[in-house]
């Protein structure tokens, strides 16, 4: 396994008596695109702010590049690019002046990549930030986070506000950075986005990690939906298993929800009947996500 860029151990944050996040444990490896999935209020932004030392943890530790996110925060931030969930980027400045300002914090890392990003994301940097649309504001936020090619980019809901074409270009940019060995940690509630670009994903619910899996594993471990059309009548009782849920039945029709581990047993039962049509559907991440939330 590649080196861990982010290591989180028992990380907990309380806001007074209410839980922000509780006992988070996971790590993110070098060169991977890691998705942090959960609905609004689940604790995604709290976790990100703890990583950036914008918040102080109640207990537990978070390390980036093997450096403590609280004690060594300044060193950590030298190699970090960050896009806030709702980027507020000095409205009175022009896009260019703002990027110059951010660039000035890392003078040794100035590169032509900023210009490339501006062109690829199609941003007019000469205009004042207060005149920017939500989409342009997001583009500017992405550029400032990635322009110095950080070892780790932490992006909070990065594609929100981007139109589909720009989103595709953005995913390409992330893939290219990954190929260069950069690590991307992105939070999202856009499931198809995570499915498309992430290697692994952590699912967070009510401040607690529900699962940390590769996208592939999540799909494989997860449920299937089977639809069967029989040529004649069938016995519903034949398909009653502990882990199998009968969703819908008709005279010649059966719809089941089953874990992939039960496929063979269901097929064995089906062999007793003459089947007109049979299909297994792999659920999309949305359904998988709901499955985790129903636990």
């Amino acid at each position: 396994m590649a080196n861990a860029v982010i290591e989180i151990e028992n990380l907990t944050k309380y806001y007074g008596s209410s839980i922000g996040v509780q006992n988070l444990n996971f790590s993110v490896s070098e060169g991977e695109i890691f998705g942090f999935l959960g609905p609004n209020g689940a604790g995604k932004t709290t976790t990100i702010r703890l990583l950036l030392n914008l918040l102080y943890p109640t207990s537990g530790t978070a390390k980036i590049f093997d450096l403590d996110c609280v004690k060594d925060s300044l060193k950590v931030r030298e190699e970090l690019g960050y896009l806030a969930g709702d980027p507020n980027l000095y409205p009175t400045l022009s896009g260019k002046t703002f990027l110059d300002f951010i660039d000035s914090f890392r003078p040794e890392k100035k590169s032509k990549y900023r210009r490339e990003l501006t062109t690829r994301l199609n941003l007019d940097a000469k205009r004042k930030i207060k005149q920017y649309s939500r989409g342009n504001l997001q583009k500017l936020g992405i550029i400032q986070a990635l322009m110095h090619k950080p070892k780790l980019a932490i992006l909070d809901e990065p594609s929100s506000g981007l139109d589909p074409l720009v989103q595709l270009e953005f995913y390409k940019i992330l893939e290219e950075l990954k190929k260069e060995g950069k690590t991307i940690f992105l939070s999202s509630h856009n499931l198809s986005e995570v499915e498309k670009i992430c290697d692994r994903v952590a699912i967070i619910r009510q401040g607690k990690i529900v699962a940390v899996e590769s996208i592939e594993k999540i799909r494989h471990r997860s449920i299937r939906v089977a639809e069967v059309f029989f040529k004649a009548e069938f016995k519903k009782e034949d398909f009653k298993f502990d882990n199998v849920k009968i969703i819908e039945t008709g005279e010649h029709y059966l719809k089941l929800q089953l874990p992939s581990s039960m496929i063979n047993q269901v097929l064995a039962k089906l062999a007793k009947y003459e089947v007109h049509d049979l299909s297994f559907t792999t659920p999309d991440l949305e359904e998988i996500f709901l499955q985790y939330y129903e636990k």
Binding site: L52, L55, N88, L89, Y90, I102, R106, Q144
Partner: protein, 268 residues
Amino acid sequence: MNFNLIKKVLRDYKFSILLFGFGTAAYGASMVAIFPSIQTSANDLMSYMDKMPSAFREAFGMSINSFSTLEGYLSMEYFSMIWIFILVAFTIAFASQAIAGEIDKGTMETLLSQPISRTKIILSKSLVWIFLILLIISGTFIGVFVTAIIANIKVEYLGFLIFGGVALTFFWSFYGLGMFFSSVFYDRSKAIFAPLAIFLAMYLLDILSKLYDQVDKFHFLSLLKYYGNPVEVIQKKVVPWNEVEVLLTVGLVFFFLSIVIFRKKDIY
């Protein structure tokens, strides 16, 4: 210190500094310009003033010098009233923006994701405030001096310089208070209201202390007491070290507290 942040904050204040600098200079200049006509009516104005209770005259800084000397006139009409209101307002506005304002607008999140420490943010911004307040004070004095030279009025330059130093320490004490509340609150309006309310309460206490003996024992609580009567500082040309020490200490204590609080503050 962070030069980039200093440059940015200076850019942010380029228009307001022109407004404050020229505004205070122009107002000071106009006061000097009308002083000769006030001076010719000094005797009439003094006899009118004599009819007022002495405590009232003292409370508003009126003295025999108030109409007969430029220093006395500026002290009563400008440096004890409008001028400190304007400069304290500028100071509180600047301090409230420095931390609470950036948190309120959400820009602090972006700033703190850069490799810059929280202490450096405060120190860099404070350096800008010192530069700007010196610019405004200097602007005021230049306006006064230039108009006085044109109008052929004698000016106590050294006295004005000493008074400028005392005034700087007074504004510093409010800068410390302003930064303290700016580091405590997340909402800029609260960070403005709290030190402004304290200033107004202190201003009232200063006046009441001069009017009523029973209030005078609390006069030490008002920073206006240590600012004193500008005309005395200008004419005596002696630095009131005890007062300066109090003002510097109050400023330093609250400024230090603001650093401690901001370093440990959660940024939402």
